[in-house]
C-alpha cells in the first residue's frame, strides 16, 4: 500500500472521527444521567450552521466554535424542557428535535450555501508534522487535538467528581439520588446543556474545521452513529475514542476507494461506515451486566 493511501486513511480517520467523538462524549454524559438524546443529529446541525454563519459574519473561527457550542447547548435545552420538565417520551422527543434541527439549520444556512471560508487554521507541531505516515495527524486544527483530552476530561468528570457521581446515580436510580439530596431534574438539565455544548462543537468541527463549507444535512447520520458508539462503548468515554477512530477510518477508507475508482458502486461504498457500525452493534449488543444506566430512557416522576 502506498504512503499517500495510508496517510489519507489515517488522516481521514481522525478528521471524520473527531466530530463523532465530540458528539458521542456529549451523548455519554446525558445517557449516564438517564436520558437518550436521539436528537443529537439535529444538535450537531445547529452547531454546524451557527458556527459557519458566525465565522462568515465575524471572520473569526474561534468565535464560530463558541457560537456553535452555545447553539448546541441551548438547542438541547428544548429537549430538557420536553423530557425532564414535561416528562415526554424521550425517543419521540429526540426524533422530533432531530427533524426540527435539520429544518431550522437548513433555513438558517440557506444564504451560506456555496460560501467558502478559511475556517480553523491547522496548527503544525514542530518535529512531528513531517513524520512519514503519522505526519498529517500533527497538521490538524485545534479541535482535533483537543478531542482525545476531552474524552479523558469527561471520564474524570464522570468517575472522579461529586457531580459525576450524582449524575451517574440519577441515571441508575433517580429516586435514590433524590433521597441522597440531589435533584434529578437539575442534574439532567445540566447534563443536557453540557451534551449540547459537545454536540455543537461536533457540528462546528465538521463545518468550519473539516469541510469548511455549509451543506444541508451535512452531518449525514453522524449524530446517530454517535448514539450507537455510546452503546457499543458500554457507556465509557475512553472506549468511545476507539469507536470514533474506527468509524472515521471506515469513512476515509471508502472515500479513498471511491477516489481511486474501485469497481464497486459508490452508493454501496457510502454505506461502508454504517455497515461497520451495524456489525459492531451486532457483535457487542447485549453486553455485560450493569453496563447500561439502569434508568436510561425512563421518566423520573418525582416522589409522591
Amino acid at each position: 500500500m502506498s504512503v499517500p493511501f495510508v496517510e489519507s486513511v489515517l488522516l481521514g480517520a481522525i478528521l471524520s472521527g473527531m466530530p463523532v467523538l465530540y458528539a458521542a462524549l456529549g451523548e455519554v454524559i446525558v445517557e449516564r444521567a438517564g436520558v437518550v438524546n436521539l436528537g443529537l443529529e439535529g444538535v450537531m446541525l445547529m452547531g454546524a450552521v451557527t458556527s459557519f454563519a458566525s465565522t462568515v459574519r465575524t471572520g473569526s473561527a474561534a468565535l464560530g466554535v463558541l457560537a456553535g457550542a452555545t447553539a448546541g447547548g441551548l438547542f438541547n435545552l428544548i429537549l430538557a424542557l420536553l423530557v425532564v420538565t414535561r416528562q415526554a417520551n424521550q425517543l419521540a422527543s429526540g426524533l422530533a428535535l432531530m427533524f426540527f434541527g435539520a429544518g431550522v439549520s437548513a433555513l438558517l444556512g440557506a444564504p451560506y450555501i456555496g460560501s467558502r471560508i478559511a475556517g480553523l487554521n491547522p496548527l503544525q507541531i514542530p518535529g512531528l508534522a513531517h513524520l512519514p505516515y503519522l505526519g498529517p495527524l500533527f497538521r490538524s486544527d485545534i479541535l482535533a487535538y483537543l478531542a482525545i483530552p476531552a474524552a479523558a476530561l469527561v471520564w474524570w468528570g464522570l468517575f472522579r467528581t461529586r457531580w459525576g457521581l450524582s449524575l451517574r446515580a440519577v441515571g441508575e436510580n433517580p429516586a435514590a439520588a433524590y433521597a441522597a439530596g440531589y435533584s434529578p431534574p437539575a442534574i439532567q438539565y445540566q447534563a443536557l446543556f453540557l451534551a449540547g455544548l459537545f454536540g455543537g462543537i461536533a457540528g462546528a468541527d465538521l463545518s468550519i474545521g473539516i469541510v469548511k463549507t455549509w451543506a444541508e444535512w451535512m452531518t449525514a447520520g453522524r449524530g446517530f452513529i454517535a448514539v450507537a458508539l455510546v452503546i457499543f462503548s458500554r457507556w465509557h468515554p475512553l472506549r468511545i475514542v476507539w469507536g470514533a477512530v474506527l468509524f472515521g477510518g471506515a469513512v476515509a477508507l471508502q472515500l479513498q476507494f471511491q477516489a481511486r475508482g474501485a469497481p464497486v458502486s459508490p452508493f454501496l461504498l457510502d454505506t461502508l461506515p454504517y455497515l461497520l457500525s451495524l456489525g459492531v452493534l451486532l457483535v457487542w449488543a447485549g453486553g455485560r451486566r450493569h453496563a447500561a444506566p439502569a434508568s436510561l430512557g425512563r421518566v423520573f416522576e418525582g416522589t409522591k
Partner: protein, 507 residues
C-alpha cells in the same frame, strides 16, 4: 426511668390518606442510647409514623420536637440534616456503583473532587468499630442482602445520623445475620445512637428492644419497657384479641411408593449467580419438602429450574413421570405447577395492572371467551373471592393497581393467585415473608391443607421454625449442592444450622 431528654418527640401526629386514617394522634419518643421497637400488624400505621419522622410524609396535625426545639421536617433532606436516617425495606443502593460510591453519594459536605481512598478508609474505620465488615470496593450488585443492609447502615453512620430508623430490618435476613444485626444495634446503643426498628416479630422485640411501642389501627396501643413486656401481653396489644391459633393439622404423607410429582436427577445449572451442582430430589404427592439454606446458596436457582425459567446444563427433570427437561414455562404451569416467587413484584405480579387483571394472568386460557377476544371478568372475580376466602385473608380491592399494595398485600395476592388454580405441585419461596402473624398462619394452614389433599410442595424458607413445623423432609442447600437431608423429627435446628453454614454432618 429516663433522666435524659428525648432526642425526638412526636406529639399528636395525625396523618390521613384518601380513605384511611393512617395515624391518629400518635405520641412517640426516642431517647439517645435506646433501641425502640415499633410493633404492629401490617397496616397498623408503623410505616406512616416513621415516614412522617423521616420527612417523606407531612403530618396533617401534630408537632415534632427535636432536642429542645420544634422542627418542621419537610423532606428526607431535612431529616438527615437533623441527624435522622432511615433504612428502607427496599434498599436504595445503586447496583452499578461500588460501596464507596454508594456511601459517598450520601455524605453531606462531599468535596467536589472525590478521593475514593479516603472514603474507603472512613468506611473501614466505622465498619470495624460496629462489626459491619464489607468490601468497600465491591460493586453493590455483588453484595448479599445482609451486606447490602450493612452498607445502608454505614451510609447513615458516615452521614452522622444519630437516630437510625430501620423498617423491618430482619425481614430479609437469615437467623445468624439477624443475631449479627442485633449485635450491631447493641453496639450503636452503647455509643449513644437511638435506634427505631419496625417489626411484627415478637421474639425479636423481646430479644433486642429496650422499649416497645405497639400500634394498632393507626393509634398507639401501648408503650412498654422490655422488663414489663410479655409475649402474651404484646399480642393482646397488637390484636386486641388472643393469640391467633397456630395448629398444624399434620398427617403422615402418602406412602412412599406413589409416583413422584417431581424428580430432579443430577441437575446442574450454569449462570450468573450460584450454579446448582448434581441436584437429585423427588417430591411425592402429599409431601412437603423443605429447603433450608442461607439465602443465596441456590434457592432461587432451584425454583427457577423447576419452573423452567432457567434451563438445566445437565441432568434430567421429570414432572408427573414425563421428561420435562426442555418444557417451556407455560407447559410446566399448565401441568399444574404453581410458583410463589421470592420477589413477587418482579417475578409474578405486574405492578401497573389491577389486582383483578393480575389474577386473570394466572390462567389466561381459562378466562378467555370468544376465542380469546374477551375475558370473563366475572369468573376472574369469582376465583379471586373464592381463593381469598380459602386463605382466610381479607379481600383485596380488585380495581387497585397491584403496585400500590403494601408488601404484605402483594404477597397475599401472589398466594391467592397461585393457589387458586388448585395446583398439584407448589414451589413456594419464602411464602410467609412480609406477612403479619395472622396472614402467615393462614398461608401455612393453606399450604398444609393443599398437601393433605395430595399436592406436593417444595417449601423454600429462611424461617427454620416454619420449615421444621411444616416439612415432611428437609434438605439443606449450601453453595448449590444438597449437603444434607433429614426428617425434621430425626434432626435438630442446631444440626441443620451447621449444615447451612458449611459444617459437616455428624462431625
Amino acid at each position: 426511668m429516663h433522666n435524659v431528654e428525648p432526642l425526638v418527640a412526636l406529639r399528636g401526629i395525625t396523618k390521613s390518606f384518601p380513605g384511611i386514617l393512617a395515624n391518629d394522634r400518635v405520641d412517640f419518643d426516642v431517647y439517645p442510647g435506646e433501641i425502640h421497637a415499633l410493633l404492629g400488624e401490617n397496616g397498623a400505621g408503623k410505616s406512616t409514623l416513621v415516614k412522617v419522622l423521616y420527612g417523606i410524609h407531612q403530618a396533617d396535625t401534630g408537632t415534632i420536637q427535636f432536642g429542645d426545639r420544634a422542627v418542621q421536617i419537610r423532606s428526607p433532606h431535612d431529616a438527615r440534616r437533623l441527624g435522622i436516617g432511615m433504612v428502607f425495606q427496599q434498599f436504595t443502593l445503586i447496583p452499578a456503583l461500588s460501596v464507596v460510591e454508594n456511601v459517598a453519594l450520601f455524605l453531606p459536605h462531599l468535596p467536589a473532587v472525590l478521593d475514593h481512598g479516603v472514603i474507603a478508609r472512613r468506611i473501614e474505620e466505622v465498619s470495624g468499630r460496629y462489626g459491619l465488615a464489607v468490601d468497600p470496593w465491591a460493586p453493590a450488585w455483588r453484595l448479599s442482602v445482609g451486606e447490602q443492609q450493612k452498607v445502608e447502615i454505614l451510609k447513615l453512620l458516615l452521614a452522622r445520623s444519630r437516630v437510625l430508623i430501620l423498617d423491618e430490618p430482619t425481614r430479609v435476613l437469615v437467623p445468624h445475620e439477624i443475631d449479627g444485626l442485633f449485635r450491631v444495634l447493641a453496639g450503636l446503643r452503647e455509643h449513644g445512637y437511638a435506634v427505631v426498628f419496625i417489626t411484627h416479630k415478637l421474639p425479636e422485640v423481646l430479644t433486642c428492644a429496650d422499649r416497645i411501642t405497639v400500634m394498632r389501627g393507626g393509634t398507639v396501643a401501648g408503650t412498654l419497657v422490655r422488663a414489663e413486656a410479655t409475649e402474651r401481653g404484646l399480642v393482646g396489644l397488637m390484636f386486641g384479641t388472643a393469640w391467633p391459633e397456630e395448629g398444624s393439622s399434620r398427617r403422615e404423607p402418602i406412602r412412599e411408593s406413589a409416583r413422584p410429582l417431581l424428580e430432579l436427577r443430577e441437575v446442574d445449572t450454569s449462570g450468573d449467580g450460584v450454579s446448582l451442582r448434581q441436584i437429585t430430589l423427588t417430591i411425592a404427592p402429599g409431601e412437603i419438602v423443605g429447603v433450608a439454606g442461607v439465602s443465596g446458596n441456590g434457592q432461587r436457582e432451584l425454583g427457577d429450574v423447576i419452573l423452567g425459567l432457567t434451563q438445566t446444563a445437565g441432568g434430567k427433570k421429570i414432572i408427573h413421570g414425563q421428561d420435562a427437561t426442555r418444557w417451556s414455562v407455560d407447559r410446566i404451569r399448565r401441568s399444574g405447577v404453581a410458583f410463589v416467587p421470592e420477589d413477587p413484584l418482579r417475578m409474578l405480579i405486574v405492578p401497573p395492572l389491577s389486582v383483578l387483571e393480575n389474577m386473570a394472568l394466572a390462567d389466561t386460557r381459562k378466562y378467555a371467551r370468544h376465542v380469546g377476544l374477551t375475558v370473563d371478568w366475572i369468573a376472574v372475580r369469582r376465583d379471586l373471592e373464592q381463593s381469598t376466602r380459602r386463605l382466610a385473608l381479607e379481600m383485596l380491592p380488585p380495581a387497585v393497581p397491584a403496585g400500590t399494595l403494601s408488601g404484605g398485600n402483594v404477597q397475599r395476592l401472589s398466594l391467592v393467585r397461585e393457589l387458586s388454580i388448585d395446583p398439584r405441585l407448589i414451589v413456594a419461596l419464602y411464602p410467609t415473608r412480609g406477612l403479619d402473624v395472622r396472614g402467615a398462619t393462614a398461608a401455612r394452614h393453606l399450604l398444609l391443607a393443599m398437601r393433605n389433599r395430595g399436592a406436593g410442595e417444595l417449601l423454600i424458607s429462611e424461617d427454620l421454625g416454619e420449615l421444621f413445623s411444616m416439612s415432611d423432609r428437609l434438605i439443606v442447600l449450601y453453595r448449590g449442592r444438597i449437603v444434607g437431608e433429614a426428617r425434621p423429627k430425626d434432626t435438630t435446628v442446631y444440626e441443620i444450622g451447621r449444615l447451612m453454614t458449611g459444617g459437616v454432618a455428624g462431625g
